[in-house]
Amino acid sequence: MVKVRENAVHYVAIAAQPLDVQALYEKLKAPQFGGIVTFVGTVRQWTADVETHAIEYTAYTEMALKELTKLATTIEAQGANVVIVHRVGHLALTDEAVFVGVAAAHRGDAFKWCEYLINAVKQQVPIWKKEFDTDKIRWGGLE
């Protein structure tokens, strides 16, 4: 299952399958844009002295797509291609959880917009992580 919204904005999706970073990157390329910045969030092993071995992501899929679309639209209106895809399901170490890509005419904008988007995704898109750590299970956002 991949839920996608691709009308107004370039490409946003909630994906149940592993992210194809190359394919997502290719969607960003265009002759008018010389700078492409991408952020990929992967499952990290250590957070201070807590060891993680897996993360399960769930989403309120339809609402998450709406929120991603709003975010992407805002940035695309300023002159950019935007791709945002978030994984759901069970992820192992180094698996890709999220891809945020921005192509813009100039690199300063691409960096600024990409960082803005990943921060916004983490703050306002209804997606949750359940972290399987060595000592116990932790829900993201609650500690």
Binding site: T58, Y60, K66, A97, P126, W128, L142
Partner: protein
């Protein structure tokens, strides 16, 4: 009765992905959370940090007539990325 979608830790605490709640009119975020707390007191501490979404949009202080509400959800603190 209104169907309210639950997610993540909230769904686990209740053991269901949605619940039926009796809500007063107009419908507000506070009313949804109060009804949830009364019906499922075990969700109390998480509920304090939850947001409410009406028709897949976060609401704050807005009030809604029953006819305006097609989908209700309780949103625990998000943690994507």
């Amino acid at each position: 009765m209104y169907t309210v979608k639950l997610f993540a830790i909230l769904a686990e605490q209740v053991g269901q992905a949605e619940v039926q709640l009796q809500l007063p009119t107009p419908i507000t975020a506070g009313a949804v959370k109060a009804a949830m707390q009364a019906a499922f007191p075990q969700t109390s501490s998480v509920l304090a940090d939850c947001l409410v979404a009406v028709n897949q949009t976060f609401i704050d202080q807005e009030e809604f007539a029953p006819s305006e509400v097609t989908e209700l959800a309780l949103i625990p603190p998000v943690s994507g990325g």
